[in-house]
């Protein structure tokens, strides 16, 4: 499916893929309460994706529905940040991924909330409330795991060391980003400042790593995890293309 690269697609794809990863945690969390919390965040993300795909559909003259976008595109046609497709290796990965995402998404939608595009500004207002809640949840868990036990600290540090590799691309802004985001450099500086603060208070580090030759999500590049995620998610509409669900 050929669709125009668009900032809405990036945001929508990032939401749906992270939503799917969190849905994987349903009946796999450390407590039942946490199953419910992660499901809630997942539901917010699916709802957000749906709204954003509706805008995309409108822009493309209603050729496709949100479900077409979700269920009928392959890896190379998806434009989510690679951070969110990383797997749930353990609960520390879930929390680290969520926290890094939440700080980023909160700043992105804060900037978009003053966008001239009325649809986008409207959605951003609603989304911000959801992200603020999710942020509190993920930050609290960063503190708990970082300061809890030696084991939890080690696990969280390990998760961070892996996930940080997928952070650089967030800030490799292209022209499209710059059209929509009011202040790209500010986004980047706030992100690093805040993440570093929380890491410091949680007894965690942002370890340096050598420059990576990793291609940009903006061109539909992914880690190998992505194909497996899609093959599960898209199974039914792909297997029964004539069926209505």
């Amino acid at each position: 499916m050929k669709i125009k690269k668009h900032v809405f697609v990036r945001l929508a794809d990032t939401s749906v893929i992270l939503g799917q990863r969190l849905a994987e945690m349903c009946s796999n969390g450390p407590t039942l309460e946490e199953d419910i919390a992660l499901s809630n965040i997942s539901l917010d993300l699916f709802g957000r994706a749906d709204e954003l795909y509706k805008i995309v559909a409108k822009l493309e003259g209603d050729k496709f529905t949100p479900d077409d976008y979700v269920f009928r595109r392959n890896e190379r046609e998806y434009y989510n940040i690679k951070l969110v497709e990383q797997p749930n290796e353990d609960f520390a990965w879930v929390i680290a991924r969520q926290f890094l995402h939440d700080v980023y998404a909160r700043e992105v939608f804060t900037q978009l909330s003053s966008s001239k595009n009325a649809d986008l500004a409207g959605i951003s207002q609603k989304v911000l409330k959801e992200i603020k809640y999710s942020y509190v949840h993920s930050k609290d868990w960063m503190n708990r795991l970082g300061l809890g036990t030696e084991e939890s600290n080690t696990r969280l540090q390990k998760a961070l060391d892996h996930l940080m590799k997928y952070v650089d691309e967030l800030f490799a802004f292209d022209e499209l980003d710059k059209t929509y985001l009011a202040d790209c450099e500010k986004l980047k500086s706030i992100w690093f400042k805040e993440v570093d603060e929380v890491l410091l208070e949680s007894n965690l580090k942002r370890n340096p790593f050598p420059p990576l030759s990793m291609r940009d999500y903006r061109d539909g590049f992914h880690s190998e995890h992505m194909g497996h995620l899609l093959s599960i998610m898209q199974y039914l509409p792909r297997a029964y293309p004539d069926a209505k669900w």
Partner: protein, 94 residues
């Protein structure tokens, strides 16, 4: 045995002006977690605007075998209720 998982009682105010009502209990290891868990368990359908949690062990209750002595003496103080008094209809609502 694992430890640290505490029980908290949850109180919800549905709308401004209404009293807080006991909704049930929730588990949580710390205060923030208890609040978040209560929010996710008891207000998923917009049931609240305010939420309290209090550790269940901090609630003080009347001992069961003292309940008679505690509450029964209030049963015969009928002069505390408005219907105890006879007021003529002609004076209007009072």
């Amino acid at each position: 045995m694992e430890s640290g998982d505490k029980v908290w009682e949850v109180f919800i105010q549905k709308k401004a002006g209404l009293p807080f009502k006991h909704a049930g209990s929730v588990h949580g290891y710390d205060k923030k977690m208890a609040l978040q868990n209560a929010r996710d368990l008891y207000t998923r359908r917009g049931e609240g605007r305010e939420l309290w949690v209090v550790e269940a062990s901090n609630i003080v209750a009347v001992p069961l075998d003292e309940a008679d002595a505690f509450f029964d003496p209030a049963d015969d103080k009928i002069y505390r209720h408005p219907t105890f008094y006879n007021i003529p209809d002609s004076v209007g609502h009072m």
